[in-house]
């Protein structure tokens, strides 16, 4: 790649002369191209090296993520090459970030195997992220055409199916992750499950790194957890669940564990993002076949989603996961301890839950995305949230979400069951107030205090945590900020 300069299109004879050409000359920069309805579209944030022409950089990204290699090859001429080439069709400077650009690239649908996230990602993020002429590269968003979406199964259960199975409507679901994450024996672990569920939660959860360690082998964990779940069902008359993490070294192990969970009557199993896209799709198919809800913990995602200049935005991961087919996905809390700018989180939640997500730059959504008839994913909000934030959580995250209070349940001064009750009472009181038309954003704290009058556990929770906030600036924020108009 060389320095900035105008480049004229080449005749075929010149174009295929052995040697090195600019990607632009090879046809990967196509500003006049009109994306077709069936194209897969991607927008990348590119940071070219100082002496690299941004258009050439965009063309290089298009080339490296589709047909090109670093030099001219005559075998291109055995194909309908211009059809298979990805085309960088638009380039815009990123607002407020000098040296960064948004490059829009269109890929023909024929480039991809149907129903395969592995194949899709092998192209889009396969080689290109290490490309030297770029200082940094980030995949910001994608538009998946209906034609390609329909080759994917999507979530095995979906929000509607999950609620109908759990017999739970009209309020967020409540969960908690077992703590300490590691070290509890099976018997002690199941105790926490029982206490939390019988106190009023809908779900408890294995943490991402609970698999089958020396302190608790997986069968033990499953048996004790299901004892806790079923006892809690009996004392409440509700249908509850524990996300049994079936993550393991091989697919065979995962199937074995998932089948055991199913045979014990669990309604849900869990996997980690680190098992890889193919394993996720396999488990999605298994879950559809076996009528199980599939929970995905996004373990590892922050290694590539958090930095604004390089990596893959989480909204793209969420999109891929809805295609691959998971029912639950951790998607941010806004108010908790983990990364989550309100606008970014909104964009991710829309990607999970809406049947049509319109372009909205303020939420980081670069394209209209109709979801065809793929089911909706239930977002999960987890990490440093507590009952005192209930009004904020309901306002930011809405009704179709699992609110997971790990420390906020298990760390309750009156015990785990009381912690669960505090969360459930706070939630029900807030939903009821919202429906009654009260301004929960402003009256929220009063509504909680009111509800705590007849609920000692909630009072204790508010006394303990009401002032805990995690008020840090997010590293992953949106670029497009609404400016007040001067009319």
């Amino acid at each position: 790649m060389t320095k900035t300069g105008e480049i004229a299109p080449l005749a075929a004879k010149e174009r295929y002369k052995p040697g090195v050409l600019k990607y632009k000359q090879m046809g990967y920069w196509a500003p006049d191209y009109e994306p077709s309805e069936t194209d897969i579209l991607a927008v990348f944030r590119i940071t070219p090296q100082d002496d690299v022409d941004p258009e050439e950089a965009a063309a290089a990204v298009a080339g490296e993520s589709s047909t090109a290699t670093w030099t001219v090859v005559w075998t291109d001429r055995l194909t309908d090459h211009s059809h298979y080439q990805a085309k960088a069709y638009r380039l815009e400077p990123a607002p407020g970030s000098p040296g960064q650009y948004f490059a829009y690239i269109a890929y023909d649908i024929d480039l991809f195997e149907e129903g395969s996230i592995a194949n899709l990602t092998a192209s889009i993020i396969g080689n290109v992220f290490g490309f030297k002429p770029l200082k940094a590269l980030r995949l910001e968003d994608m538009r998946i055409p209906t034609a390609y979406l329909k080759t994917f199964q999507g979530p095995p259960t979906g929000i509607v199916g999950e609620r109908e199975r759990l017999n739970c409507y009209g309020r967020p679901l409540l969960g908690a992750t077992m703590k300490p994450k590691l070290g509890l024996s099976g018997r002690n672990y199941g105790r926490v499950v029982y206490e939390a569920l019988s106190g009023g939660l809908d779900f408890t959860k294995d943490d991402e790194n609970i698999n089958s360690q020396p302190f608790m082998h997986w069968r033990d964990r499953f048996l004790y957890c299901m004892e806790g779940v079923n006892k809690a069902n009996a004392v409440s008359g509700e249908i509850k669940g524990h996300y049994l993490n079936v993550t393991a070294a091989t697919m065979e192990d995962m199937y074995e564990r998932a089948e055991f969970a199913r045979d014990l009557g669990s309604v849900i199993v869990m996997i980690d993002l680190v098992i890889g896209y193919t394993a996720i799709q396999s488990m999605a198919k298994w879950a559809r076949r076996n009528d199980m809800i599939l929970h995905l913990h996004r373990a590892g995602h922050s290694t590539y989603t958090r930095q604004k200049a390089h990596g893959v935005s989480f909204r793209v991961i969420a999109k891929w996961m809805r295609m691959a087919g998971v029912d639950h996905i951790h998607a941010g809390t806004v108010v908790g301890k983990l990364e989550g700018d309100p606008n970014v989180v909104r964009g991710i939640y829309d990607t999970c839950r809406e049947t049509h997500v319109p372009k909205n730059l303020e939420h980081g959504i670069f394209f209209d995305q109709p979801w065809a008839s793929l089911k909706k994913m239930m977002p999960v909000a987890s990490g440093g949230i507590h009952a005192g934030q209930m009004h904020q959580l309901l306002t930011y995250l809405g009704e179709d979400v699992v609110l997971q209070f790990g420390g906020g349940t298990i760390g309750h001064p009156m015990g785990i069951s009381a912690g669960a009750t505090a969360n459930r009472v706070a939630l029900e009181a807030m939903v009821k107030a919202r429906t009654e038309g009260r301004d929960i954003w402003n009256e929220g704290p009063d509504i909680l205090v009111q509800a705590a009058r007849s609920c000692a556990p909630l009072r204790a929770a508010l006394d303990t945590w009401a002032h805990v906030t995690f008020d840090f600036a997010s590293t992953d924020s949106v670029d497009f900020v609404p400016t007040p108009t001067a009319s």
């Binding site: 409507y169 299901m226 008359g237 029900e428």
Partner: protein, 144 residues
């Protein structure tokens, strides 16, 4: 034992005006409402008896509250719940569900464990009230 199905079972029982306020919200969203009752509150008993068909095209909650009260009066020993149906694309399911009446006493559920090989256990819930024939399951007159 207090059955905690539905949206508001952890709060004090809703008064009629509170029920009306919830209905007003549902009707404003264009949802239709239905009253259902049962003497078998097993969590997987999906189909409670319908107290008439779902009420479509209502504008005001007063009509719903009339039916809730009529059902309570006719079925004092049953659970009564109020449901809101959303017919819009992407939902086409219940959007609200909460209990508006409970029997005078709630005996709860027995957890039955069927031992299998390899420490496997098959779990079953059984409402204690199911020992009595329908109609005599809850409250005074229940067979011990």
């Amino acid at each position: 034992m207090r059955l905690t199905q539905g949206q508001f079972s952890f709060l004090p029982d809703l008064t009629d005006p509170e029920i009306a306020a919830q209905c007003a919200y549902a009707l404003d969203q264009g949802w239709s409402m239905a009253v259902e009752f049962t003497d078998d509150p097993h969590p997987r008993n999906v189909y409670w008896e319908m107290w008439g068909a779902p009420m479509f095209d209502l504008k005001d909650p007063a009509g719903v509250v009339i039916e809730v009260n009529a059902c309570r009066e006719a079925q004092p020993r049953c659970y009564v719940r109020l449901l809101a149906f959303d017919a819009s694309k992407g939902f086409e399911t219940l959007r609200m569900s909460f209990i508006v009446h409970r029997p005078p006493d709630e005996p709860g559920f027995e957890l039955i464990r069927a031992d299998g090989p390899g420490r496997n256990i098959g779990y079953t819930l059984r409402p204690y009230a199911a020992d009595a024939p329908p109609g005599r399951r809850y409250g005074p007159g229940r067979t011990p």
